[in-house]
């Protein structure tokens, strides 16, 4: 995406935190693990429809996608591609169907439950609620799910195969806590989280809230250990404009030492930790990046989001939020 005049603009954004709110005023610092909130009222308000069969994860994703689309004041073409990222998908619902199948004598499960657990179902509901019938891809790549979805969506816009792209990520937490934390390789002392974030991308700068500057992946295994820190620092130096304020958004897998080295290598960078508002989940990046646009910016601000996965891969997302 770099070294090219084909900029990709962020036309609107929405992030829903564990409390169910999608504005700065509704954000709450998490005191502990979040509770699952029923979003059916919000969905009804946003779409005028009853989503009587969908689960909490789909509620999060559909509601967030609608808020992002509605914040973009213009209609989005029906053929707009949709990229949904999720680490665990329908975690709660899948657990419930699993229990039905494994513990019952007749091996019969709820058709609603099974269909909800199918991996393409939530994107179907997002497309339906948004009047979309174009490409619909769900990406599940653990901690880097949203980063890849964003890269694919940006490529569609950049290659001019689409005028807009709708891209987002969502995940929910499940119980028992210990099992959930084990699934996403988190320690007992970390805060469990859930939420969603969606962006509308486009190639027209009118009313843009910001731009997507770059999405890059780095190998952080073996000999290349920590070489990625240097590469990211160079990338920021190259892409930063003189007037930019520069802010680091650390992903939930980024260690303190990594944050310290990034701060040490990038002059003037500030750190903004969004995780206390959403907790840790695979697609927290989507929430973190979307919620940057909750408040207006006094200056153009270059945000650097960095996250690792647990297996030696790192991805960096660079976005610029415009002043005003």
């Amino acid at each position: 995406m770099t070294g090219d005049s084909g900029a990709i603009y962020i036309l609107s954004a929405a992030g829903i935190g564990p409390s169910g709110g999608a504005t700065r005023e509704q954000r709450r610092l998490l005191a502990g693990d979040p509770q699952t909130t029923d979003l059916s009222g919000l969905l009804k308000e946003l779409t005028g429809e009853e989503f009587r069969r969908i689960g909490h994860f789909a509620q999060l994703a559909v509601a967030c996608s609608r808020i992002a689309a509605l914040r973009f004041k213009k209609p989005i073409a029906a053929k707009t591609p949709l990229y949904l990222a999720t680490g665990l998908g329908e975690a709660l619902n899948t657990l419930s169907v699993f229990a039905q199948v494994i513990n019952s004598d007749d091996s019969v499960c709820s058709p609603y439950g099974f269909v909800n657990a199918v991996s393409s179902t939530t994107a179907f509901h997002i497309a339906k609620a948004g009047g979309l019938n174009g490409r619909s891809i769900t990406i599940s790549q653990e901690e880097l799910s949203f980063e890849w979805a964003l890269k694919l969506a940006a490529s569609d816009v950049k290659s001019k195969s689409a005028e807009y792209a709708l891209v987002g990520g969502a995940d929910e937490s499940s119980l028992p806590r210990q099992e959930h934390m084990r699934r996403i390789r988190l320690g007992d002392d970390q805060v469990m989280g859930h939420g969603a974030g969606f962006l509308v991308l486009g190639k027209n700068a009118d009313h843009a809230a910001g731009e997507l500057v770059d999405v890059q992946w780095f190998d952080s295994t073996g000999e290349e250990k920590n070489a990625w820190v240097l590469k990211i620092a160079r990338l920021v130096e190259r892409l930063k404009k003189k007037t930019d304020r520069v802010v680091l958004l650390p992903g939930f897998r980024l260690e303190r030492t990594h944050i310290a080295s990034l701060v040490g290598r990038i002059a003037g960078i500030e750190v903004c930790n969004y995780l206390p508002f959403c907790g840790c989940f695979h697609t927290a990046t989507a929430f973190g990046i979307a919620s940057v646009f909750d408040a207006p910016h006094e200056r153009d601000t270059l945000y650097l989001h960095v996250n690792n996965n647990a297996c030696g891969r790192t991805m960096a997302v660079l976005i610029r939020a415009f002043a005003g």
Binding site: G87, I102, I139, Q141, E142, R313
Partner: protein, 386 residues
């Protein structure tokens, strides 16, 4: 010179056995190995037919997916004259298509259910984790991503790999599709009344539902500038039909449009299609919709079409990769397989798929994949020089 996307190597493990040659022989002979569902702990197991991995060779434990994926990758590497650890793999992207990974959770749960420690209720290793593990094992340093769109998962993995190569974002990709069946999946299809106890009968007047199967397949894709025969990936399209979450709109208009979009992505017209690999699940409405869509696209002079699920079952997330590999191995061997399971034409459809193998011509082939969540994918390939 125009860039082509060459399929450099293919490998698969299916219910017919390990490796594509055994599947090709099965397709040439018009026979399949279909086991009963006995090895799945479901109450209706004895009444359904399932295409399973060879139980003598593959133990149903947590390592099953890795075993079948490894065998598929090794076969693909062998065809491409590559070794594990070669720099080809180091630079490649890994794109996995898988619909879900609940079989291992079930295995662990059943094993630990009566033990001292509380059992793990659900998968500790999702499809994304599996992809990362494969990449680490093979020393892949390129992009690693997993597509989870149910029955179109690995078809979409092929599409995304093709697209990333066409855009110059990557030069090489290993595409893997995998589906290991579980009681969860079988029960889901059973509860949706989609299983046909008599097995898969694509496009037949007596078709009543699907027969599920498990499979793994690997395809090595590479950007190439030479046109030297073999199979190349030429065009693709995916779309989401929001009419109904469990079936596509019966009039066929929507999936005809996906096929048309795949043709324009490949830069060809409908007349240039030599043969269509239909989705052909054997379910009453889906097959009817597919025939209507082909009629809309091809008019009164349609190319021959065939379905492969009679040989290997509906392999869900693995379908895109395994059916592509099966078709092009057969085509390379000189024939297009007949539609196993089809006997009598449905007067309501007024159309029949291939009932006997035919000679495989050089030209463009279309492969269609339709799934839950209204997710529809059509891919155009080319075989040999055109």
């Amino acid at each position: 010179m125009q860039k082509t996307i060459k399929i450099k190597g293919m490998g698969a493990v299916t219910s017919c056995g390990t490796g594509l040659p055994v599947l090709i022989e099965s397709m040439r002979a018009g026979q399949s190995i279909s086991r009963s569902g006995a090895s799945f702990p479901v109450s209706f197991g004895s009444g359904i037919r399932v295409n399973q991995f060879d139980p003598d060779r593959y133990i149903r434990d947590e390592a099953l997916a890795d075993a079948v994926i490894s065998a598929s990758i090794d076969e693909a590497l062998l065809e491409a004259e590559l070794k594990r650890g070669s720099s080809w793999l180091t630079d490649a992207a890994l794109i996995v298509g898988a619909s879900g990974m609940l079989y291992d959770a079930e295995i662990i749960y059943r094993r630990e259910k009566n033990g001292a420690s509380a059992p793990t209720p659900v998968a500790v290793r999702g499809a994304g984790r599996m992809a990362t593990d494969i990449a680490n094992r093979l020393g892949i340093k390129g992009p690693v991503l997993t597509v989870t769109t149910a029955c179109t998962s690995s078809a979409n993995a092929l599409m995304l790999a093709g697209e990333m190569i066409r855009r110059g974002e990557i030069n090489k990709a290993l595409v893997v599709g995998v589906e290991v069946l579980s009681a969860f999946t079988l029960s889901g299809f059973y509860s949706l009344m989609l299983l046909n106890p008599d097995g898969c009968r694509p496009f037949d007047s007596a078709r009543r539902g699907v027969q599920l199967g498990e499979a793994a397949a690997a395809l090595l894709l590479e950007a190439d500038f030479a046109i030297d025969g073999g199979a190349t990936l030429c065009g693709w399209a995916n779309s989401c039909d929001t009419a109904n979450v469990i079936s596509t709109n019966i009039d066929g208009v929507f999936i005809a449009k996906v096929m048309e979009d795949a043709l324009s992505s490949a830069g060809i017209t409908a007349r240039e299609i030599v043969c269509v690999k239909a989705h052909g699940t054997g379910s009453a409405d889906n097959d009817a919709t597919e025939v209507r869509a082909m009629r809309l696209l091809f008019g009164n002079d349609p190319p021959p079409y065939t379905g492969l699920k009679g040989y290997i079952g509906h392999t869900l997330g693995a379908g895109g990769a395994v059916e592509t590999a099966a078709l092009f191995k057969a085509v390379a061997a000189g024939f297009i397989p007949a539609t196993l399971g089809f006997k009598d034409m449905d007067p309501a459809l007024g159309s029949a798929p291939l009932t006997a193998p035919i000679e495989a011509e050089h030209g463009h082939y279309m492969a269609n994949f339709f799934g839950f969540g209204g997710n529809n994918t059509s891919i155009v390939f080319r075989h040999g020089k055109v």
